[in-house]
């Protein structure tokens, strides 16, 4: 019904307006509370102290603006994004392959079980120094760190996805004459993919964590490096600008995963789907 669609569009537009208003409100609160001149000092005795701890929005945006206009940021952003994407891709590919293998080979899975649990329980950021020794201070060590974070998320989801294949669908495919290879390709993999996609939103975020934490711990390039440098000078505006920039790009990557998911998972039922001509 067109009337209903109009209504839902209207309510969505209203939602966007509210979201925009909330953003403006937060921005104004940030501006007013950190401005040295607008408010009398409420909590901090020194008028500049709020700005020192939280940055000033106008200066933060000015910093972002200058980064992009001067082109200074692109090199760093590029490095961080490459680290993130590589960690994400490599971690996902390994997670899928090893997840499929262990889910379909119960013996190997039984032998490796305690080791997988141990590695997963370990806080993997502690591996960073080892990766620095192995791979140096360049991109590779950050990618390695990100891979260890992404791999397990994808791995466990693939494993679960294969275990949860509907036994009826499986038996049906066997009755229709599917060979073990065809079962893998036409039943196990597609079934596991829905779990993989559910996990990709998480793993994109963790790939970012790997890259930025790696940069904090030792690097010469990257947004994490910029943030670390600025912190050394107590330049809170630059720190906040870096954080906002990373957040924006994490959102973009997450959105890209969402698009890919929608494209590839058309077969999945969505809650309340109606006939559309």
């Amino acid at each position: 019904m067109s009337g209903n669609r109009d209504n839902s569009e209207k309510s969505r537009a209203r939602l966007r307006v509210y979201q925009g208003l909330l953003f403006a409100l937060l921005f104004i609160a940030w501006y007013v509370l950190t401005s040295p001149t607008l408010l009398p000092p409420i909590y901090f005795s020194e008028p500049n102290q709020a700005a020192f701890f939280f940055g000033e929005p106008l200066k933060v945006f000015e910093r972002l603006w200058r980064w992009f206009v001067s082109g200074e940021i692109y090199e760093h952003l590029w490095v961080t994004l490459i680290e993130t994407l590589l960690a994400f891709l490599i971690g996902t590919v390994f997670g899928v392959i090893i997840g499929l293998w262990l889910a379909l080979a119960p013996m190997a899975s039984a032998i490796l079980d305690p080791y997988i649990k141990a590695i997963n329980a370990m806080p993997r950021v502690v591996l960073a120094p080892i990766f620095f020794v192995w791979f140096g201070l360049g991109i590779a060590s950050k990618v390695a760190l990100g891979v260890t974070l992404v791999f397990f998320i994808v791995f466990f989801n693939v494993y679960q996805g294969v275990k949860e294949v509907s036994p009826v669908v499986l038996a049906n495919a066997r009755m229709l004459g599917a060979s073990p290879r065809q079962l893998l390709r036409h039943v196990y993999v597609p079934s596991a993919m829905s779990w993989v996609f559910a996990s990709l939103h998480n793993s994109v975020g963790l790939a970012f964590v790997g890259a930025v934490v790696g940069e904090y711990l030792g690097s010469a390039k990257g947004v994490g490096y910029l943030i670390l440098q600025a912190e050394g000078f107590f330049d809170m505006n630059t720190v906040v600008a870096g954080i906002l920039l990373l957040t924006a790009f994490a959102l973009i990557l997450d959105w890209a995963v969402g698009i890919a998911e929608k494209r590839l998972m058309v077969w999945q039922p969505r809650t309340s789907e109606t006939e559309r001509s």
């Binding site: 049906n172 009755m175 058309v266 999945q268």
Partner: protein, 268 residues
């Protein structure tokens, strides 16, 4: 004459995975022979091992004892001359209707284009023309059953194994599907084993009705030829005096078993 399908004194004992001393014998000494072109229904109370017997016939389950013969040859592995229609949803949710129907041909190495062409023909035959690119969740329950039927019949199996295929449908859709099944079956008369707990469905479809005892250790306790004329209309045939007569006779034999199963369920 060799039977199309012969299950000879089948035993099926399940052992609990956690505790090997926990055993459950679902089927004991069950013998079932289905002639070529014969439509046999197997009825019995719930939990009497009907599906177990069908899984044995399909080669999905190894019996603990007894033998399975398909057209006189001992069955090893999956029964490739049989098509199996499951009670639960068995279509691959990630394939659309035409891809689902073509799946069996693809698995057998038929080219993608030819498989799609033949699948399209079958979709028309089961009344699903125009729904080729729908995914299973976009079809109604009855449409999914039609697609499942086409998915099986496209491979032209000599034996059809059906496990309460229409039990999830509402009564009108169900009678429609039953009539369509009879029509499709009438074209080339495959051997059919049709499992159901609905005696009326069994009588209206079959040449022969086999009654199973209540589980555990379920086995056939009655074998009734159905001499109603074909072609039949499943909705109308229920009103005929001969149908009612047969129904009364079989129900009399079944009643006790149904009660036994009911009491057993209450105790659990």
């Amino acid at each position: 004459m060799t039977s199309a399908l012969a299950l000879e004194s089948i035993d099926c004992t399940f052992i609990s995975r956690e505790d090997a001393s926990q055993r459950y014998t679902a089927v004991r000494g069950a013998t079932l022979r289905v002639a070529e072109g014969e439509f046999v229904s197997v009825v019995g109370p719930t939990g009497c091992g009907k599906s177990t017997l069908l899984n044995v016939a399909a080669g999905l389950l190894q019996p603990s004892a007894g033998s399975v013969q398909v057209f006189g040859k001992a069955l090893a592995g999956i029964n490739s001359r049989a098509g199996y229609m499951f009670q639960a949803e068995a279509l691959m949710p990630w394939r659309n209707t035409i891809e689902n129907v073509a799946a069996g041909l693809e698995f057998r190495g038929v080219g993608r284009e030819e498989a799609a062409g033949r699948a399209g023909d079958w979709l028309k035959r089961v009344g699903l023309a125009g729904f080729e690119s729908r995914f299973p969740h976009q079809l109604s329950g009855g449409m999914r059953k039609r697609a499942a039927l086409a998915q099986i019949l496209i491979l032209n199996p000599q034996i059809l194994l059906m496990d309460e295929p229409f039990s999830a449908l509402d009564i009108q859709t169900r009678q429609l599907m039953e009539n369509e099944l009879l029509e499709l079956w009438g074209m080339d008369r495959k051997s059919v084993v049709f499992i159901t707990h609905d005696l009326e469905e069994a009588i209206s479809l079959s040449d022969r009705v086999v009654v199973l005892s209540a589980g555990p250790e379920s086995h056939p306790i009655g074998d009734y030829p159905i001499d109603l004329p074909r072609p039949r209309d499943v909705a109308e045939i229920r009103l005929e005096p001969r149908f009612i007569e047969i129904h009364a006779k079989i129900w009399h034999a079944m009643k006790e078993e149904v009660l036994k199963a009911y009491v057993r369920q209450q105790r659990q």
